[in-house]
């Protein structure tokens, strides 16, 4: 996405410089993932201009960044809702009610999986194993794991997320 009036992320450069120092020499390419993560943390997604800047700053080929952005599920080039509801649908979660939870969320929010509510508040996604199988079913909301979820608990949580 490349709307014309997006603010620059170049104010993050001092942070990236400090990060560079923690890596051995010649590891500039490695900074691709941490820099993208940080930009996305601030902006909510990675914009075309961010790619242009990182190409220059890190000296990596543009295609490397383009590939990374499409390969890893956590990176996105479009914004999502304020609260990204990522529900695990893998083995243990499915065995403890994930499918019913996803249906419940879909109906309650009035969106299909992958969609965002009209007010921009919630995006509903399904994800694979989050490494929290013992407390299944698990919903990851932005960066936080919400464990041992059920319909009642998710309803309460949605109420708190403004």
């Amino acid at each position: 996405m490349n709307a014309p009036n997006l603010p620059s992320m170049k104010h993050l450069q001092p942070e990236f410089e400090a990060l560079k120092k923690r890596y051995p020499a010649g590891f500039d390419s490695s900074l691709t993932l941490p820099c993208l993560r940080r930009i996305q943390e601030v902006r909510g997604f990675v914009a075309d201009q961010d790619i242009d800047w990182l190409v220059e700053y890190l000296g990596v080929p543009r295609v490397q960044i383009e590939e990374v952005l499409t390969y890893y599920t956590q990176f996105r080039r479009q914004p999502v809702g304020r609260w990204h509801l990522q529900t695990c649908r893998n083995v243990s979660c499915s065995m403890r009610g994930a499918e019913r939870l996803i249906d419940h969320l879909s109906r309650k929010l009035g969106v299909k999986v992958g969609e965002t509510t009209a007010d921009g508040r919630f995006t509903l996604s399904v994800v694979e194993c989050l490494g929290s199988c013992g407390t299944a079913p698990v919903v990851m909301v932005n960066d936080t794991y919400h464990e041992n979820m059920d319909a009642a608990k998710i309803d309460a949580l949605l109420g708190e997320l403004k």
């Binding site: 790619i51 543009r62 295609v63």
Partner: protein, 480 residues
């Protein structure tokens, strides 16, 4: 330097070679898609798998040959039952989602997938699920279209832009069976002067050149070895044109004398297996409107009349100057020297110069001298820059690239050229000449390597071959 065995036969391998390299060098064929002799090993197609006999009674094992170092005494089987079964399985996987487009796909007839399928599988698909759909006509660049359904994600094209052309213009996005080859979003693949090589190395009909798209079936065409005249590198090329027995009689017979496409002719001494995009566009260079009629001051004349008039001008000239074409072949240049080298003050002319926006010179193939035979021309006629001596009264211009505004006042002009141009009509004598595709000859490149080109087409009837024509102009001063 290890020796090992392939199918029971002893084979010699150089140090550091893989089984693939040693096998091919020794004349054993191992099929492959993603491996390429000039690119890094990707090892993703899994077709080149071979079986290796276990040592000390151990079990046999199977692995890809392209990444298998040769070890002393190893016993490799390239055609065992296990290998054939594994290959067949791999081909079944490749064909799972591959669209059966052969009927409309340009690659048919020169497709590695067709060849390997018929050699090693040959059976219909065993799939019971629908094929994955993807983009079928993606504009990868101004010159290349990409059909993602046909793509087998071998990564040859991506590796080419990374390792050979250095443009880093291509990438594989996403993952799994929704992987897609895509061009970098900043357009650098479009600007890559070597982009079209990916069409050659694509093992299937995924990457196709727009110039050649749906033009002709390859089995109706023949490849004539030639040399690209685009610069002093002199890459050897194949010029493809219709076979005589497949000439079109009613549907557009012009195609019978047109270049259908140009591809590299592999040449370890000059260009390896690559050429730049300019070489691909030779049809446009040679396909320009031709001068087919000798002219005397713009009036049509016969060749005989033109020769007579030219001889007359040459005989009476006091200070004749000749501008020698750097597109002349070795044979033509020698003939010019023999016939006219004494009579004329000769200067070598750069027929073509870098055009605006054209790459001038790079580290790979492209040379700043945009002419194929400056080397021989200078060897015969020196490298002095053009300067008309006082009293120049006759200028013989051979080939393109001379600005006639620079003619000395009062000088007569003999112009020998191939293409229609306004200057043809202004010259005292104009004689049309044949072009490279209408004769055989040699060029010598900037490094002194001489390469040959062969004839593709017959020349138009009233057009002269320079080599014979020059002899007819050999007159001494004052002769009649």
């Amino acid at each position: 330097m290890p020796d090992f065995f392939i199918n029971g036969q002893p084979v010699h391998a150089e140090k550091g070679q893989t089984v693939m390299q040693a096998a091919l060098a020794a004349g054993f064929y191992i099929p492959y898609f993603c491996w390429h002799p000039h690119l890094s090993v990707a090892g993703n197609c899994r077709v080149c798998v071979v079986e290796v006999e276990g040592e000390n009674g151990g079990e046999n094992w199977a692995e890809i040959a392209c990444n298998m170092p040769v070890s002393e005494g190893m016993r490799v089987l390239t055609d065992s039952e296990r290998v054939r079964e594994l290959r067949k399985q791999t081909l079944q996987f490749i064909l799972l989602n591959h669209p059966v487009d052969c009927g409309i796909c340009d690659k048919a007839g020169e497709c590695m997938l067709q060849d390997h399928h018929y050699a090693y599988n040959g059976e219909p698909s065993i799939s019971t699920v629908p094929k994955v759909r993807a983009t079928k006509y993606h504009q990868l660049s101004d010159r290349i279209v990409l059909d993602n359904e046909r793509c087998i994600v071998c990564s040859r094209c991506v590796r080419f832009t990374r390792e050979i052309s250095g443009s880093h213009g291509l990438a594989i996005q996403n993952r799994g069976d929704h992987s897609l080859v895509r061009a970098a979003e900043d357009g650098r693949f479009n600007a890559d002067p070597y982009s079209d090589n990916v069409v050659d190395i694509c093992p299937v009909g995924a990457l196709l050149g727009k110039q050649f798209l749906h033009k002709a079936r390859v089995w109706y065409l023949q490849a004539t070895p030639s040399v690209c005249p685009g610069c002093a590198r002199g890459c050897t090329v194949n010029v493809w044109h219709r076979k005589r027995e497949w000439k079109l009689n009613h549907l557009d017979p012009k195609q019978n004398t047109e270049i259908a496409r140009v591809t590299p002719l592999e040449n370890p001494a000059v260009n390896g297996p690559w050429i730049c995009n300019k070489g691909r566009d030779l049809a446009q260079v040679f396909g320009r409107a031709r001068a087919e009629q000798p002219l005397l001051k713009g009036k049509p004349a016969t060749l005989l009349q033109a020769v007579g008039a030219a001889r007359g001008l040459i005989a009476e000239a006091a200070r004749p100057v000749a501008l020698v074409s750097s597109w002349g072949s070795n044979e033509e240049l020698a003939a010019f020297k023999r016939a006219l080298g004494e009579r004329f003050a000769c200067f070598v002319k750069a027929d073509h110069r870098p055009a605006p926006g054209e790459v001038v010179q790079d580290e790979l193939l492209i040379r700043a001298d945009k002419n194929p035979n400056t080397a021989t021309a200078r060897e015969l006629f020196g490298a002095a820059p053009l300067s008309f001596p006082d009293g120049t009264d006759l200028v013989l211009v051979w080939g393109e690239g001379f600005d006639f505004a620079g003619l000395p006042r009062g000088a007569r002009v003999i112009f020998l050229g191939s293409y229609l141009a306004p200057e043809n009509g202004h010259a005292d004598v104009f004689v049309p000449l044949s072009i490279q595709t209408e004769r055989a000859g040699h060029y010598t490149n900037f490094a002194g390597v001489t390469s040959s080109f062969e004839r593709c087409f017959a020349k138009p009837p009233n057009v002269a071959h320079a080599e014979e024509f020059f002899a007819q102009l050999a007159v001494t001063a004052g002769a009649r």
